[in-house]
């Protein structure tokens, strides 16, 4: 086998599938976004019309501001995960079992997580309202209220996400250099100062991974919305990913849906570029 062709032979099955299902569809979506198309008939060139429409679409504005909210609140999970990891980073009986049980929510699929939280919030059957009414309060429908629905969904998402961050930080903590920590301790560093000046700098690779997966998770939010609110009530809990799905598959507006997807892709693309740049730096 020629050494020039060997790598391409080894990569060809993966490349072929990846091109068919990932690369080429991206180009197609961009192309579709410049058209009006119901998914069945003829595509009609529409130029930038879909993008112009997006700029004036209130639902898109809601979706974007909810995406920002998701991102902002999801970024609570790295510090929460770190706190949990610091709490669990002890050597004591049954600690391994405790760690894996804390990690448990991440292993469960989001459909189940969404259902659990829906039940938890259920105004007539759920435990949350049972607790509120028992304390003399008024029952509230968190997911039925335009002002609270998104927060209710994000809270459900934070649960597995925090578990994920925790496990990555635990691995990071196990790699922290003991000698440096001991030396700093002898020098009188402890508590916050030790965490900030000695431990966190050593946890940078873990923090990088945690932030990357959290941002991607926040921008990808779809499953929980589909299960818990379907973007409602009155479109108040929608995000770009959900809006795209609805426009394309329920309103048969493939061109408009594709334009929303392109917007999401561009946002994520900027982020991917930053991640790749960081990885390339680490590599060299």
């Amino acid at each position: 086998m020629n050494r020039r062709f060997a790598p391409w032979l080894f990569m060809s099955p993966a490349l072929l599938l990846f091109t068919t299902y990932v690369l080429w569809p991206i180009a197609q979506s961009i192309w579709i976004s410049f058209h009006t198309w119901d998914g069945v008939g003829q595509m009609e060139w529409a130029g930038l019309a879909n993008y112009m429409e997006m700029a004036g679409d209130e639902q898109i504005v809601t979706a974007i501001s909810n995406n920002v909210l998701w991102l902002a609140l999801y970024l609570l999970s790295p510090p929460l995960g770190l706190m949990l990891a610091l709490f669990l980073n002890q050597q004591i009986r049954a600690i391994r079992l405790a760690k894996s049980l804390f990690f448990f929510p991440f292993v469960i699929n989001l459909v189940v997580v969404g259902l659990v939280f829906r039940w938890f919030y259920d105004p007539s059957y759920g435990p949350l309202n049972a607790a509120i009414t028992a304390l003399g309060g008024e029952a509230i429908g968190i997911l039925a209220n335009e002002d609270t629905a998104t927060y209710g969904v994000i809270a459900a998402g934070l649960w597995p996400q925090t578990a994920y961050c925790m496990i990555i930080y635990l691995a990071g903590l196990s790699g922290v250099n003991r000698e440096i920590v001991e030396a700093a301790r002898i020098d009188g560093a402890r508590g916050w100062r030790m965490l900030y000046h000695i431990v966190l700098p050593q946890l940078r690779p873990a923090t990088f991974v945690v932030v990357v997966v959290t941002v991607v998770g926040a921008l990808r939010s779809f499953d929980l919305i589909a299960i818990m609110t379907e973007g409602g009530p009155y479109g108040s809990s929608t995000v770009l990913a959900w809006e795209m799905y609805e426009q394309a598959l329920f309103s048969y507006r493939m061109g408009y849906g594709a334009a929303i997807a392109v917007l999401l892709f561009v946002v994520m693309g900027g982020y991917i570029a930053w991640v790749l740049w960081q990885l390339a730096r680490r590599e060299s």
Binding site: F10, A14, Y21, F103, N109, A241, G257
Partner: protein
């Protein structure tokens, strides 16, 4: 170690254990509640008993209602028939690709590698319309094969990224020696590299099993029909049928969540090794 290890005083250690297990109980409260709910009777649910031990358990009835009264069992089988071959194929394709990316120097190697990484981050929605169309036109829509093909293609990106790192850490002299001796590339891949990366493959298999089993979006887009839908999509459909019948929904949820949970507790070491690769090396 940070934080400092607990002092050996029994009182402090006992207090730590106490806080530990209390916070764990709170953390897992939703899961405990759903397990309890799955064995309650409808009357118990209507009486809004959440935390009390079920007065009258209906475990057999509830799970029988799910297995006999719905297609949950078929959805479960669909998920297994999609997930297992997808994991195997993604590992095979990505081990080949990452072998090439890790052991050959060629123009475009970083470009190909970057492409596989970037693929992991893209929003699914940018692929949705064309992939659905493509599947429709090839008759792969609403088939397990069509769903599996997509998973293989998509997951190959992550797997290649993951495995390339491992192959790079292997001692290069061994490969060079084999190459100098004229050993064919496919034999080096199969007989030298593959056995050495078995632990990485195991870790990846467990992770991929969980990712693919837990997928909801692509099931919804590519296989939404009753015949072919995976268990996550089936559970969502069940939500529509059994509005507020939380005992049945809970039983269904537990069935849908079970395989990755079993897999995680059984192969925990591999799972965590896979998930946290990259968190320690800088």
């Amino acid at each position: 170690m940070f934080p400092a290890p607990l002092p050996p005083k029994p009182a402090i250690r006992a207090a730590y254990q106490c806080v530990l297990w209390t916070s764990l109980a709170l953390w897992l409260l939703p899961l405990a509640a759903i397990m309890l709910t799955s064995v309650r009777t409808a009357a118990d649910i209507a009486a809004a008993n959440y935390w009390s031990w079920p007065a009258d358990t209906a475990m057999v009835e509830n799970y029988r209602a799910i297995f006999a009264g719905t297609n949950m069992l078929r959805y479960f089988a669909n998920s297994a028939l999609v997930t297992l071959p997808s994991v195997a194929a993604a590992l095979l394709l990505s081990s080949m690709a990452s072998y090439a990316l890790a052991t050959f120097r060629f123009r475009a190697d970083f470009l190909v590698y970057a492409m596989f990484i970037a693929g992991n981050f893209i929003p699914f929605q940018i692929l949705m319309i064309p992939v659905r169309d493509f599947s429709l036109s090839l008759g792969l829509y609403n088939t397990k094969t069509g769903l599996a093909l997509f998973h293989i293609a998509f997951q190959t990106g992550f797997c290649t990224f993951f495995l390339r790192g491992f192959i790079r850490q292997l001692p290069g002299e061994m490969l060079e020696a084999a190459r100098a001796d004229g050993v064919p590339e496919w034999r080096i891949y199969l007989h030298i590299v593959m056995p050495l990366i078995l632990p990485a493959l195991a870790a990846l298999a467990v992770l991929e099993f969980t990712f693919i089993w837990n997928d909801f979006f692509w099931g919804l887009i590519l296989a939404p029909d009753d015949q072919s839908r995976p268990v996550t999509v089936g559970l969502q459909a069940l939500k529509g049928t059994y509005r507020a019948q939380w005992h049945l929904l809970s039983a269904g949820s537990i069935i849908a969540a079970l395989p990755p949970v079993v897999c995680f507790f059984w192969l925990q070491r591999h799972f965590i090794a896979g998930l946290t690769a990259g968190a320690t090396k800088g």
